[in-house]
């Protein structure tokens, strides 16, 4: 798969070394040694090749050769919304992924080249095949085909769907272009694959809104399915649907019990943190999570809640190898070995709460026109 990768591509050696081990099998200490060396290579690479990133490291960071993974410079995730950051020549960019973000209507703009795509796919493959198995099963996508129609400009949802589609075959989209239920198509598809293992993928709120109600009404048997879902619980929390309720409901309505949530973002494609049977999320070999104090940004010990920082050896075409998110989380434990998984077990708490500052200028001014 990596046949086209350039030999001197930054952090490739460390990436390959980490990929040699099966997913989640590297003890934290060993992982950090390889990550640190790779991340330092990437800091150097991005500083030299992305002039915006170079300015940031010059102005904000004393040195970008870090002695610990926690000392690697990090950028705020919102930077990918305000700036289009690229560390490769324009012609090397294969596609630009976009996402709607936390700050209103602005989009993240992520420049992806061949090398980055390849690393994303390799890491994602190692995570998903670990829970789905080697063979590509028939796949049900809880979304509309329209979100993957233009691969040149992908939304976060489209990129997520497209990235996952490679793990299944004979894809069935649950929704049509108007987000309407394709009931007949689904019935036929399910009948066709009765008794064979199937893969189901979708964003958490869509899975709940469309698939769950369907399993209730149609007494669908999904006990042969594996559900992989992502996208946060915020919309479900308002309906009082907790992760536990989500799991129990599906199990009861359709026998679906192999359910895996994951935490990921368009700025960190390929570095998804996938759920284990303890309900916590595990970063892949080539990436890690660091929890930081929301005020001081100091790294926090397991058990302490703070901002989630993601580090990853995937991004070579944009300076996203170390990103401070606006999400809150906590490391529950390290190297516990649940389901054979080592490394950090992450629990995501949610978004950083919004605040309103005082000031002379009224924010709601536009609505004041009488």
């Amino acid at each position: 798969m990596g046949s086209l990768t350039v030999q001197n591509s930054p952090a490739l050696t460390q990436f390959n070394d980490l990929m040699l081990a099966s997913q989640w099998s590297v003890p934290q200490q060993d992982k950090e040694t390889l990550l640190l060396s790779g991340l330092n290579d990437l800091s150097k690479h991005h500083s030299a090749n992305c002039k915006e990133y170079g300015r940031i490291t010059n102005a904000l960071w004393d040195r970008f050769s870090a002695a610990r993974v926690e000392d690697v410079p990090f950028v705020p995730v919102s930077l990918f919304k305000s700036h289009r950051l690229s560390s490769v020549p324009h012609e090397a960019v294969r596609m630009t992924m976009t996402s709607s973000g936390t700050t209103g209507s602005s989009l993240s703009k992520i420049a992806i080249d061949h090398e980055t795509t390849s690393r994303q796919a390799r890491s994602l493959n190692a995570s998903i095949s670990a829970v789905v198995g080697g063979k590509r099963p028939p796949m049900l996508v809880v979304d509309s085909e329209t979100v993957v129609r233009d691969p040149k400009l992908l939304s976060a949802r489209g990129a997520g769907v497209l990235g996952m589609m490679r793990f299944g075959r004979d894809h069935c989209f649950l929704l049509d272009g108007d987000m309407k239920f394709r009931r007949e198509a689904l019935r036929d598809w399910v009948a066709k694959h009765q008794g064979t293992p199937i893969l189901i993928f979708g964003f958490t709120f869509l899975v709940w809104q469309f698939l769950y109600s369907f399993t209730q009404e149609d007494k669908l048997d999904l006990s042969n399915g594996v559900l992989v879902h992502s996208g946060g619980w915020k919309k479900l929390q308002s309906e009082a649907v907790s992760p536990d309720v989500f799991r129990a409901s599906f199990h009861q309505s359709s026998g679906l019990s192999r359910i895996y949530n994951f935490y990921g973002m368009v700025e960190q494609m390929g570095a998804i943190c996938l759920e284990a049977s303890d309900g916590f999320l595990y970063p892949p070999n080539i990436a890690d999570v660091i929890i930081r104090d929301p005020a001081t940004f100091a790294p926090l010990a397991p058990g302490k809640e703070g901002l989630i920082q993601m580090v990853s050896l995937v991004p070579t075409s944009y300076p996203g190898h170390s990103v401070l998110t606006e999400d809150l989380g906590v490391i529950e434990y390290i190297d516990r070995g649940v389901d054979g998984r080592l490394g950090k077990a992450l629990r995501v708490i949610g978004r950083l709460p919004k605040t309103e500052l005082r000031g002379c200028s009224d924010v709601v001014a536009a609505s004041l026109a009488a």
């Binding site: 606006e326 919004k354 924010v363 009488a370």
Partner: protein
């Protein structure tokens, strides 16, 4: 013509809209307009008005919950009889020969939603000048503000002036503004550019005077050598004053310092001073337990990253959650960058003309440190052609004054009557 007529009809039709008279009396616009119409203005600077302000001052100073907070204490001192008497005599001195000041009539105040003391200053000046007042209170009132309004209404009621000074609340999307403007001789519009743009198109009484308080930018000029010479105690005192200017109202008030100039020939000294002063501000913020919300901290970090990319930045000091100091190489327009809560630009300049080239009409307050009266006048005369409405010592940025945003608020709240023998 026809359209205008329709508009009048429309506004009349809407006049049954509800208004809350503080604290909780529901009335219609019609009733409010009729009841204030039954009142008449008073002569300017009449004794009962001093008494009301003095009573309010006393009530605030007696209220432990309010005196804990600097803005309320500052307001109370500003309202004291001695202070107001001085304002009045200064005003008399400013009056042109052969004129007498008279009230304008009915003033409508639209204060900012988020700076809780402004509406009292705005009201107090207009009240002193004898006007009837309708003050639209912010939609969400903090406990302290509510307490203050209770004191204020009690002071008015004691003098029988509560009917001519109404404190109201109503939804922003309602047509109440239009109705109130139709009886306004004077309107104070606080709250920034967008609000002024939205409201100034709403027709008012033809003779109505509008005082717009637009978005402003404020900075500080520190004499580099004076800071070098200052000892520890003096530097700490300066940092304490600077803290007040920066952090009061989360650095989001028009007068909040957002950029600091080091004026002097020593560039290296300026860098050292930036570090030293930033460190002292960190100490101030920590010792006063200034709370910073995580989202704001994140926004400051993001703003400093963006600044590094976009602005030509020598260095960013961002190691404390309280102070982010951005050392600028050049002097681009940074007025729209305001994450607030302790985000400071620093720039070294050799002379005041470099600052003058930066100044725009938007600039309001300049705080200064280390200059004698002559040096200050020279600096002022260089800057004021392009902008800047006030130069005050570091620590006084947020001290309200009747000379504000280039207006003499007492003069604007009254009209001049020429009396010729």
């Amino acid at each position: 013509m026809g359209l205008q007529y329709m508009k009048v009809l429309h506004s009349n039709a809407e006049r049954s809209e509800a208004i809350t008279l503080f604290p909780d009396r529901q009335i219609t616009v019609d009733i409010l307009i009729k009841s204030i119409g039954d009142q008449s203005p008073h002569p300017v600077l009449s004794p009962p008005r001093f008494e009301v302000l003095n009573a309010l001052s006393k009530a605030i100073l007696k209220d432990a919950a309010l005196t804990k907070l600097a803005p309320w204490t500052a307001l109370a001192y500003w309202l004291r009889r001695s202070a107001v008497t001085r304002l009045a005599s200064d005003f008399d001195k400013r009056l042109p020969q052969g004129t007498i000041a008279a009230p304008r009539g009915c003033a409508v105040h639209l204060p900012p939603q988020n700076v809780d003391t402004i509406f009292i200053y705005s009201w107090a000046i207009s009240f002193l000048m004898g006007n009837l007042n309708i003050v639209r209170l912010p939609a969400r009132l903090g406990a302290h503000t509510k307490t203050a309004i209770v004191h204020l209404q009690a002071a008015l009621a004691d003098r029988g002036l509560e009917e001519s000074n109404l404190f109201v609340q109503y939804p922003s999307e309602s047509d109440v503004n239009r109705a109130l403007f139709s009886i306004a001789d004077l309107r104070f519009i606080w709250g920034g550019d967008a609000k002024i743009r939205a409201l100034s198109v709403v027709p008012a009484k033809p003779n109505c005077l509008t005082l717009p308080f637009s978005d402003r930018f404020s900075f500080s000029i520190l004499d580099c050598q004076a800071y070098d010479r200052a000892n520890e105690t003096e530097r700490d005192a300066l940092a304490a004053s600077m803290f007040f200017d920066v952090y009061q109202f989360d650095q989001m008030a028009c007068s909040s310092t957002r950029l600091i100039f080091w004026l002097g020939s020593q560039k290296e000294a300026a860098k050292e001073n930036t570090k030293d002063l930033s460190q002292r501000l960190v100490v101030q913020a920590a010792s006063r337990a200034y709370a910073i919300a995580p989202q704001t901290r994140m926004e400051k970090f993001a703003a400093s990253n963006r600044a590094a990319i976009d602005l030509g930045v020598e260095r960013v000091h961002d190691s404390s959650p309280h102070v982010t100091s951005v050392e600028l190489c050049d002097l681009p327009d940074i007025r729209e960058i305001k994450p607030g809560a302790g985000f400071l630009f620093f720039k070294h300049v050799n002379n005041a003309s470099e600052i003058a080239a930066f100044v725009r009409r938007k600039d309001q307050t300049v705080t200064h440190f280390g200059f004698d009266a002559d040096a200050l006048k020279r600096i002022a005369s260089e800057l004021l052609v392009s902008g800047v409405d006030r130069l005050v010592p570091v620590g006084s940025a947020l001290n309200f004054d009747v000379i504000w945003d280039g207006f003499d608020l007492m003069a604007q709240s009254s009209r001049l009557v020429k009396v010729q023998v």
